[in-house]
Assembly symmetry: C2
Homo-oligomer: 194 residues x 2
């Protein structure tokens, strides 16, 4: 399958079926991800994988508590955006998705955040290639994760990648046209005329 | 081609042949990239593409001036790392690579940096799929780019992606094993035993 098809058809999903995903697929997805380039090749990422239902339930509880507080203070445009898409403080995907990948970044490596997220681009495409839907969910506060997962100093939770099969029809919010976002030599000069 | 092969075989390269890359390929690469998901679907990225030799020469001069200064103050480990890999303040790739993609990020969007770099993961894989080598080069100071490219407020240069055909045999610095970076339920508990 050409990359363009993977990229075009990949969807973010907020409700998952509970069907498990195979370790073979999970290994493939993480293998693709771990080949990503990183600043000074430091590979400033680690993955804490959680499949255990009780642990997922506890993680959901922690995150929902954080988000309930967060949603009290979000700006108006975000609240509207979220409502339109059915996003709220509720995070059922944390229990439903068969696999949660907690991605940690090492905050002492050069360009660590850039490297971690570039790698996540690899990871999402690999999940799509294997037929899975993903949701990249970053709790509004991530500090709880260090104690919860027994994480050493200078490492921090960057995001939780939820992987599984969709339990809802994904919506596609669209993208800007290339002609709108690609310039030649100077800002605003369209590179592609159409 | 399976994603795992693209990811495994993609290499960073610091010397490019000057052969041009087709607009068709460039469009494909940017099209893959622009499908990347982003925080609140804000797509907080714009691309300034430069192919003009005179402009590339000027960009190289600016960046080399910045790096000459930067290299006077880098930590010892970085200087050694760079020397081993033949990296210095010299940036010939900025003139040699037929295409420079200047990636700008919108600093007012939610999770803008994460989104931009996730998108770059897509972009690098798409370039690999089309047979190109890439170098993601971020100048130590990027503020010059706003005036240089006539960039509006709140947008900033995140990186310059150099794309072309390699003029050197790429070296592969290796990766950690999955067993070393994937944990189950808690830090340090190996998910994959091998």
């Amino acid at each position: 399958m050409a990359l363009i098809d993977l990229a075009r058809e990949r969807r973010s999903i907020r409700r998952f079926r509970r069907d498990p995903i195979s370790d073979e697929d999970l290994r493939y997805i993480l293998e693709v991800a771990h080949y990503a380039p990183s600043g000074a090749n430091r590979q400033p990422w680690r993955f804490v994988i959680v499949k255990d239902p009780n642990l997922k339930k506890r993680i959901r509880e922690i995150c929902e508590e954080i988000e309930r507080e967060f949603y009290k203070h979000v700006p108006e445009w975000f609240r509207n955006f979220a409502r339109e898409r059915g996003i709220s403080w509720r995070k059922p995907h944390l229990e439903e998705a068969p696999v949660l990948i907690h991605v940690f970044g090492y905050r002492r490596s050069p360009h660590w955040k850039e490297s971690v997220w570039l790698m996540i681009g690899y990871l999402l495409l690999a999940a799509a290639e294997k037929g899975y839907a993903t949701l990249t969910y970053t709790p509004s506060d991530t500090r709880w994760a260090n104690e919860f997962f027994n994480v050493p100093e200078n490492w921090g939770l960057e995001t939780i990648i939820n992987i599984g099969y969709p339990a809802q029809e994904p919506s596609y919010p669209g993208r800007l046209e290339l002609s709108e976002i690609c310039y030649e030599n100077s800002w605003g000069i369209k590179y592609f005329k159409e």
